[in-house]
Symmetry: C2
Subunit: 204 residues, 2 copies
């Protein structure tokens, strides 16, 4: 809109391709919601993004790469938010906060997160992304458990192993609940929080 400013503003740091690339990922996300991964064809994505299949392959080498990039984009947001969250807090409070944050994550990005989980096996790159994400959560949970007095260590009944199991519990429970409704998610969250608290020995 009416850019009457001097030369410098001409800076097109934003290549046309950057816009297209974003459009592709956006379309991919939308189609994922509409038809699911298998039914979604590369042609569909291209069409949605306003180009042909051939052009799409200029940006991504395969259907897998497209969705991997989508997962990467989403997961990076999660990481940023995780990093931004100070987690030095009293255990009970930390657990409540973590669950609250997780509900938000699944509400906002449930679709892509479910897709990431579903494709972890099929698309190695996505598998790594998701494993890394899980590790972040496991580390965080481990820290809370230890601060709550659970013995540190990797034996079956020590913090590390318990955190892993709790992480998978949350992942799977939210995976299912987020497919149903926000209410189910809230309930699932409450249940997971309760089990986490109990496991941490924080039974009131």
């Amino acid at each position: 809109m009416s850019g009457h400013h001097p030369a410098r503003s001409r800076r097109s740091a934003e290549r046309k391709g950057d816009v297209r690339e974003r459009a592709i990922l956006d379309t991919c996300e939308a189609l994922l919601a509409q038809k699911g991964y298998d039914a979604m064809t590369v042609g569909d994505i291209a069409q949605g993004a306003g180009i042909t299949r051939g052009a799409l392959y200029f940006y991504f080498g395969s259907k897998h790469e497209v969705v991997a990039a989508l997962v990467a984009r989403t997961v990076e947001q999660l990481w940023e938010r995780s990093r931004a969250t100070a987690q030095a807090d009293e255990p009970r409070r930390a657990i409540a906060a973590a669950m609250q944050r997780t509900v938000e994550l699944w509400n906002e990005h449930g679709l892509v997160m479910r897709t990431a989980i579903d494709l972890s096996l099929t698309v190695p790159e996505i598998g790594e992304l998701w494993d890394h994400t899980a590790d972040l959560f496991i580390t965080a949970i481990t820290a809370v458990l230890e601060r709550a007095g659970i013995q540190a260590g990797t034996e079956p009944q020590q913090a590390s192993a318990m955190a892993r199991a709790l992480c998978w519990m949350i992942e799977r429970t939210f995976y299912h609940a987020s497919q149903e409704s926000r209410e189910k998610l809230e309930e699932a969250s409450a249940t997971c929080e309760h089990i986490w608290l109990t496991s941490a020995g924080l039974t009131t």
Copy 2:
């Protein structure tokens, strides 16, 4: 070989097709282990079973149907064994027994169970099979929790919801552990058992 017995033994209650069908499922299971679902082609399965693709389609309508039948075959074994297990027992003992049984299940059928989970989304028939299986487990866990004194009901902190979360925890934890090694599975089992016990209020 030299069947000099009377007429009756001639009973071919076993159609040739029954043998083939079994061969197809066996081959499918083997290939699943070798190359995974995506890489495994219908031609591969047919070849392994000693027939051509065309012949395979006489038995099953699609690749999906083949693997769904394989899952069904496996899952029916689980159900039988579940039914055979008397579960009226003191909670602590019941939990230990259940986990023991679950380890055996995953040791024997881990591959097919993982496949079932992976394809639950893609193949509706498999999804139903697995949902039903999960329900059996959830019901069983619920019963144990209630007998251990957890309040019955479906609110977030009551037996039913907790059982669901615990079930998913076990599913996911075993899913990952069974991909690694038997030792990991044992450890995972111990961890899950510990969390289950704690959640049931049976903390020694």
